[in-house]
Amino acid sequence: MSMTLSHVCHTYSQGSAFEHLALNDINLEIREGEFIALVGHTGCGKSTLVQHLNGLLKPTSGTISLDGEDIHGEKTDRRALRQKVGLVFQYPEYQLFEETVEKDISFGPKNLGLDSREIDRRVRQAMEDVHLDYEKYANRSPFDLSGGQMRRVAIAGILAMEPKVLVLDEPTAGLDPRGRDRILTMVKHLHEDRGTTIIMVSHSMDDIATLATRIIVMSEGKVCLDGTPREVFAQREKMDEIGLGIPEAARLCQALRAKGLDLPDDLFTPEELHGAILRLWKEKGGC
């Protein structure tokens, strides 16, 4: 499952006084099995972009294709597209509406016309994936749960559709450290063990440094950097200029090099720094 965006532009309120070019000639190839972090400031167009990936928004010009097929083509089954590409909005817990957790998660699969055994299997699997105990929570009202739990119920509703591509728009916004770690661990597991292609919007360079296989940086409706975390974080000046910065470990690496320490110039995770500093310490005869 691969996606290709070709010369995608999107203009909001075209022809009115509020006309705004949100996406400006986006060209991207999203390959199966990638974990893409999409970063950039509020207003850079990243939320607009993710809403294009499952056809919620239509490009003003340009095309988006899934496995070679134009997603806005006449013959395209839009419902099948939304099943393949699952989109988790910001604050998805605001969209919960059913009486019980089980009903809320099964809403999508039911609409797919699946039989009740398959629906039940999917609900149980989705709840397991988001670490919510079925026996304990299935019959609870989603509105009696904590914020972090509600968010996991909302994500489970998307997972129950068994999407090949999972798009998450700032899934950890507003959560405390424990809630954040739970969501990130879950996404990591879906990527590594299930092979789900992940596209995640994030503001934390430190979080994505250890998770993403690729980082796409957007600014003013355009893609301005696209590469592995190592490649992107090596562009410190550009990242500072955009105002996103680089992970703390990458900053430490550069600060130590500036002080004359013999370190590679492209380390960006605490683990890498830990290893490199330890090696220097041992070379120096420390114990």
């Binding site: 509020t42 405390d176 450290p177 430490l252 320490l261 830990h274 310490w281």
Partner: protein
């Protein structure tokens, strides 16, 4: 009003109806005038409940809260307490009441019956303090989340409070908005001497506080300067809270035998320490 200029929580307990345990459990704390006190805790730790006890939104089930000498249980003092200790909340969209920024800032003053000229002066000053003067005539819904929070702060400032209580005021903002709001509050603390109680679960927002109070299960789990609190890496992790990344890295390296300081907070301090050990 007495000349006591502290906020005092004395053995305060608060239980929600039908809850099987206390949300705040025998908590005592003294907040001195001009202090920037950060209250850190995970969701459900009781930190927001505690905040609401500080300006009489909730009343203690037992114990008492004194705001500048006024007991929050004393009905007569309610508006004096709220004027002394203003509060801002998490969701920027839930705090805007008017259709024009300047009117939103005026809302509290109108309720106090402040004279027109005095009101204009206070609104202008409050907007100036949060660097939002040029938005005075704008519609609030056209502003970003961070700008809306600064308008909410201006609304509190117009009441000329001695203390600002912020309950996760940055949780719904992007990094730029968070920084602006926090910078604004820090400046008000430094320049105007306004006491700040900053409630958050973001560790990086508290590293410059005068004191950090870590709340867990409704009780004070730790209290001290940011350096003292974060140096207890294990304890913080037990409480499901973050420690600064550099503090954690230094701790891991210390376990491998490197004699690094245990109270490192920033990249700069870490670079300094490592260079001291390793540079020729």
């Amino acid at each position: 009003m007495s000349d006591d200029n502290r906020i005092l929580a004395e053995d305060v307990t608060y239980a929600y109806e039908e809850a099987d345990k206390n949300a705040v459990n025998h908590l005592s704390l003294e907040i001195r005038e001009g202090e920037f006190v950060a209250v850190l805790g995970h969701n459900g730790s009781g930190k927001s409940t505690f905040a609401k006890l500080l300006n009489a939104l909730y009343l203690p089930s037992s114990g008492r809260v004194l705001v500048y000498g006024m007991d929050t249980a004393d009905d007569e003092q309610l508006w004096n307490i709220r004027q002394k200790a203003g509060m801002i909340f998490q969701n920027p969209d839930n705090q805007i009441v008017a259709t024009v920024v300047r009117e939103d800032v005026a809302f509290g003053l109108e309720n106090l019956g402040v004279e027109h000229d005095e009101m204009v002066r206070r609104i202008d000053e409050a907007l100036e303090s949060v660097h939002m003067t040029k938005y005075a005539e704008k519609e609030p819904h056209m502003l970003s989340g961070g700008q809306k929070q600064r308008i909410a702060i201006a609304g509190v400032l117009a009441m000329e409070p001695s203390c600002l209580i912020a309950d996760e005021a940055t949780a719904m903002l992007d990094p730029k908005g968070r920084k602006k709001v926090l910078d604004t509050v820090r400046r008000l603390n430094k320049e105007k001497g306004i006491t700040v109680v900053w409630i958050t679960h973001y560790m990086e927002e508290v590293t410059e506080a005068d004191r950090v109070v870590v709340v867990s299960d409704g009780e004070t789990a730790m209290i001290g300067t940011p350096r003292e609190v974060f140096s207890k890496v294990e304890k913080m992790r037990e409480l499901h809270l973050d420690v600064p990344r550099m503090t954690a890295l230094a701790q891991d390296l210390r376990e491998d035998g490197l004699p690094l300081r245990d109270d490192i907070l920033t990249v700069e301090e870490m670079a300094e320490e490592v260079a001291r050990l390793l540079c020729p």
